[in-house]
Point group: C2
Chain length 433, copies 2
């Protein structure tokens, strides 16, 4: 049966960004089962024994209590499980000197749902028929933002400035305030900090500047802190979360060991959260409560913050060091490779300046060399303008063993070196000499 | 801060139906804490010890296995947790002689999400700009259907025929096929069977007739079996689920003791489910996995079906008997009260013919008499035509002790009797003589 889809049905049937490529990766892995293929494409975090143990301990505690029945055998409120909300309010107030009340918190089934509700409650057709944009001030960005709007052409991103550290083989994206357009056509703003996939951390000043631009138009700013402190604390540089006014601080427990449970939490202005909460009530009633209940325990007793800083962060930070050191050794001096400054997250982001083929072609070469990474062009949702840079990047996952990462990067460097050296134009050496 | 809402934001900020009245009920309970007030308004199922024990046992089993980490510490596929899908396929194939494959199953975060995805993937503006309706063939219906469409005026319901059993003080709604309009303006069809709130069970013939009307237009029919067999089996009459063609059989674990975990399951044509799955990926990635994992265990070992038939069904069926017997004793002969035939669900549905006030006014009278029920007019989503019957009904919850139900029904019968007797017109006795 082939039922007719509505406009929204058509829009939401599209799998955007990295999801479109996962099919090829899964097929490649299936066909090469048992082969020596290093998979550095995954966005699925590894199971860290200490983190699993934390969630097992919390589950035991829940099971030992009569609260278990209240959690799983009863409906809850759409706003979220009360003890989780209380734990978040206490912890954030204490940690950041805030004066949040329980009215400043909303729990959703994963943080993607926050952006879905926000993109459509504030973006899309306005009541007077104008299109309000969902603005991504930076690009590349989280690939999932490409799928959150129910209407086409609503998500728009802006090309960043590049700050290049030539001798260091690193670079950093900066929002380009000359280009960034925030005005009465803006419905809401979303960005990730630390950024998935690049590991970029916008500075406090950049965040304030974006939020201030949005204030006169009453535009809410959603900061996706899925990798930020205090949990999972996957920031590798200092990062102070920013709260208040039109800023909604959003976080997730997915990188703190609970991706399967889908717990997203938004902290911000009650009026903004009310609109999202009502949307949630109509769409799915409330988030699942078991994940909320064990999170409430782990936040209240401090164990989640502790395991984040002492286990999760050093684990992925070491992976990034292995990756970076291997590339520094493996690449000849004259290859124009640049790693994005590793300020957070579970990926490395590699830019290959003047790459003499597309990222998709390079992905195919790398597969043949036994290493799977994700072509970078999947990570520019909303950036429609042609820009060669979009085809010059790769996302490399840190969710593998040190040995796999080292071997994978050796293969990757060798393949990329060969690609540059065999390129007829060899323009890279002219540019880089 | 008062951010501007989009058209969709406005639509989804409305809390429809019973949700709008819950505020008054919560406030009433708060103000009368400690008073003798019997609350028969709840839709939240009671915690039955055997059911809680089942979910505790399954959780212990999950915790004793390395699968625990795979369930909570990893992302899953959008289609659902593979062992749950396999368990559902096996159980339904064996039970109903079907030949489902895993491609015929989709898991969502609660069954409300199925109807939300379906109402908007198939209903709403079509690609050529026409409005495709979400048709509810029967009314009253589940109040939550009133909130599932992202666009206004999309959900439409039809006035039913009433089959009245005068001497028995019972009645039954029948779909009125003279009125029911299913054609190229129909996006999808949704109805609950057994019906929430009335306990009505559409006959096999009525279901087939509705599905057949939809076939020529390629319209999918979603049958909400949240109260149906094989779990939670809250049908009190024979009920064989119907599968195949354009029918999507949808069920939920909320009435089988897992409302907190939000597990909805759709069984049907792969093309229909694919559209919903992609929508889900973009909106919230996938349903939480702990609830799916314990459900997989309880379905595979038969415990869920067993506890449904031997514990859940008799528990609520007995409540309904208490309610009905109390009303039969408590009402004088000449009061025109009619209970809907109790064919399933956790509510009783009372119709008061020619009630000399509105259901909302009666609700206030009943509160003063110490019993809270829900005015019936909340349960006619999509039925815009004026119809006095909409103001003549009450929903009475069975989620209370036998004693509370008996005492609540005595108070209710006394109050209603007084209301009729004090009515100036007393037209009821003319009609009923």
């Amino acid at each position: 049966m082939n039922p007719a889809l509505s406009q929204i049905g058509q829009q939401m049937s599209q799998l955007t960004g990295v999801r479109a490529i996962m099919k090829d990766i899964i097929e490649t892995l299936r066909l090469n089962r048992g082969q020596d293929l290093i998979n550095l494409s995954a966005g699925n975090p590894l199971i860290l024994p200490e983190v699993e143990q934390l969630w097992r301990d919390c589950t035991h505690e829940l099971m030992a209590s009569p609260e278990f029945g209240q959690v799983v055998c009863r409906y809850g409120t759409s706003q979220g499980y009360e003890p989780l909300i209380a734990a978040v309010v206490d912890d954030f107030n204490r940690r950041y000197g805030l004066s949040l009340t329980e009215r400043n918190v909303l729990v959703t089934p994963g943080s993607q749902a926050i952006y879905f509700f926000a993109a459509n409650a504030f973006g899309g057709l306005s009541t007077n028929g104008e299109l309000k944009k969902v603005v991504l001030p930076l690009s590349p960005e989280y690939t999932g933002y490409g799928g959150v709007s129910l209407s086409p052409d609503t998500v728009v991103a802006y090309r960043p400035r590049l700050e290049i550290f030539e001798t260091d083989h690193t670079f950093k994206y900066r929002p380009d305030f000359q280009q960034l357009q925030i005005d009465k056509t803006t419905g809401c703003i979303i960005f990730s900090r630390p950024c998935n996939p690049t590991g970029n951390v916008l500075t406090d000043l950049e965040v304030r500047q974006i939020a201030d631009l949005a204030v006169p138009y009453g535009v809410p700013v959603f900061i996706d802190a899925a990798y930020g402190p205090p949990y999972p604390s996957l920031n590798f540089t200092e990062l102070a979360p920013i709260f208040g006014g039109n800023i909604v601080h959003c976080f997730s427990l997915s990188k703190a060991g609970l991706p399967g449970e889908r717990v997203g939490i938004a902290i911000g202005d009650r009026e903004i959260l009310s609109a999202l909460e009502a949307f949630q009530t109509n769409a799915c009633i409330h988030a699942s409560r078991y994940g909320q209940a064990i999170a409430a325990l782990a936040i209240a007793n401090g164990a989640l913050a502790e395991v984040s800083v002492n286990v999760i962060r050093p684990f992925y930070q070491r992976k990034l060091t292995v990756l970076e050191e291997t590339l520094r050794t493996a690449f000849p001096d004259d290859i124009p490779w640049f790693l994005h400054r590793g300020e957070g997250a579970i990926f490395a982001w590699l830019w290959l300046r003047d790459l003499p083929m597309t990222d998709w072609e390079l992905y195919q070469h790398l597969k043949r060399a036994g290493v799977i990474v994700v072509p970078g062009s999947s990570f520019f949702p909303g950036l429609t303008e042609p820009w060669r840079h979009k085809q010059e990047c790769l996302r490399i996952s840190l969710t593998a063993s040190d040995e796999e990462i080292a071997l994978g990067m050796e293969r990757l460097a060798a393949t990329i070196t060969q690609v540059y050296q065999e390129s007829p134009s060899r323009s890279y050496s002219d540019l880089f000499a």
